[in-house]
Amino acid sequence: MLIAFAVVFLIPVYVLLVTSFKPLTEANPSQAWNLPQVWTLEAWRVAWEKLAPGIWNSVLLAVPGSLLSCVLGSMNGYVLSKWRFPGADVLFTLFLFGMFIPYQGVMIPLVQLMVNIGMYGDISGLVLAHVVYGIPICTLIFRNYYVTIPDELIEASRVDGAGMLRTYWSVVLPVSGPAFAVVIIWQFTSLWNDFLFAVFLTGPQSWPTTVMLNNIAGAQATPYSQQMAAALLASIPTMLIYLVLGRFFMRGLMAGALKG
């Protein structure tokens, strides 16, 4: 039973792989499900040429974006779990709502704002948007992680005369590794895969992978083999992360359900 489901789940992967290695001469619908008679990398080569600028843009977007998200999320999570101030619970709830808002609801003003501050069509604007709207989930992940640090450790550091930042630096930060991994992977994946913000906020110079991919696939003239090769190319970074660091990926997913 489970095996049957697994096979069904993998059908799209089979199609992607098989089609991407086919030469144009085998584009006949009657051979749609067959393995290629002649294996060729031609489609991959063309797809890479078309997609490369977008992939580079996505790297410029996802790497700084996920690192910045980490810094903010870690500071917020630390304060909201260990250095609480009056009204922290209410604030946290207000933050969490930001996790669930449909981004359509802020998109038109956001575009306007980006135009006004001159960041429209620029990758830095896209990074800014992702970092800001990533604050809720990153704060949540760090907060839920820091809750598990015993309060006594923080107290001991306080008694020793360390202030908030010293305590963070010497007690909290050294044990934060796993939370950083979860947030980096979560944010990297969402930034890499995002389409909505990208399509509203970027222009041809700054199109990330997803937008370029959509343009390639939307063009009637693009053969299936190139479309599928491009789709695979665009998915390689996140798939690698998933396969190598799946444990941390899972934790990010679970945090998305408000569970620690």
């Binding site: 619908p29 101030f85 996140t238």
Partner: protein
């Protein structure tokens, strides 16, 4: 009196640095989330139907007028059909997969990895392969699933180009992508139920089915609720998938796509803002109670 004031000051000195550290995020969330939601709502209440006019306040006029548009009705109906099929489909399939796996089987890690991997890929990338799989060409022009169905003797279908049920087909890739996530949630839920509880029920003479019916399922209710909220809010704002599979065609129009068309093709900011407001409202009505409930629950424990 002086001592009391002194201790208040000391307490304030204890929490003030924390507040300062969070302040940049508070401002960012305040401006980018709440400020912009408000801005969007106020834009929706103006008659700024082109990009240059000032826009005068017209109250809820746009919210009422949009119901006169056939396309709006169409996109709302599509969103409802999509949501029902997607949410139920992912919930049932995810639950079932978790149910099959919860007792612990050989190769569990592999199965989990297979069911979950679609989560790591963008809808834009998976949309390409699903558009091919659900291609509406039939008989000798058939590719994808229609070709496969033809070979094994199942009826062929127009999939997402079907006039009435196209959005049900559109939900298939979404179910494929999200049911592994639901499975993971339920699996964690199943594993969180202590074996003693089940054992006790068995001792009391419950059949294995009775144990599920009376012990396991009620305890899974919070997980089910979380899954429902997550799937529901994803469903109501769905955009990437529809754009990747069929583009901005009327036949698969949903509010999020309609909004995009209103902004970039009709150049009508007020209308785009109105549609966006409706999307936000449809999500807010169930997410806000859920958030308040879960924060309260956490505080109690």
């Amino acid at each position: 009196m002086a001592r009391k004031g002194g201790s208040a000051l000391r307490r304030a000195r204890a929490w003030l640095p924390g507040l300062l550290l969070v302040t940049p995020s508070i401002i960012a969330i305040g401006v980018f989330v709440y400020g912009m939601l408000g801005w969007n709502f106020s834009l929706a209440m103006t008659d700024k139907h082109d990009e240059v006019s000032e826009g005068n306040f017209v109250g809820l006029q746009n919210f009422v007028d949009i119901w006169d548009e056939p396309r709006w009705h169409l996109s709302v109906n599509h969103a409802i059909l999509f949501t029902v099929v997607f949410v139920l489909g992912a919930l049932v399939l995810g639950w079932f997969l978790a149910f099959l796996m919860e007792k612990g089987i050989r190769g569990e890690g592999t199965f989990r990895a297979i069911y979950l991997f679609p989560m790591a890929i963008s809808f834009v990338a998976t949309g390409i392969v699903w558009r091919w799989l659900m291609n509406s060409g039939q008989d000798e022009r058939a590719v994808g699933l229609n070709r496969l169905f033809d070979v094994v003797g199942l009826p062929q279908w127009a999939w997402f180009r079907d006039q009435d049920w196209g959005m049900a087909a559109m939900a298939i890739p979404a179910v494929w992508q999200m049911s592994g996530y639901v499975m993971a949630l339920f699996l964690a839920g199943f594993r969180g139920i202590p074996e003693e509880l089940r054992e006790a029920a068995r001792v009391d003479g419950c059949t294995e089915w009775g144990v599920y019916r009376h012990v396991v399922l009620p305890l899974l209710r919070p997980v089910t609720l979380s899954a429902l909220i997550i799937l529901g809010h994803i469903s109501l704002k769905t955009f990437d998938l529809v754009m990747a599979v069929s583009g901005k065609q009327i036949i698969t129009d949903v509010p999020a796509v309609f909004m995009w068309v209103a902004v970039f093709d009709f150049h009508d900011p007020a209308k785009g803002a109105t549609i966006a407001s409706y999307i936000v409202l449809s999500v807010a009505v169930f997410v806000i109670p859920y958030l308040i409930w879960s924060v309260r629950k956490e505080r109690r424990s």
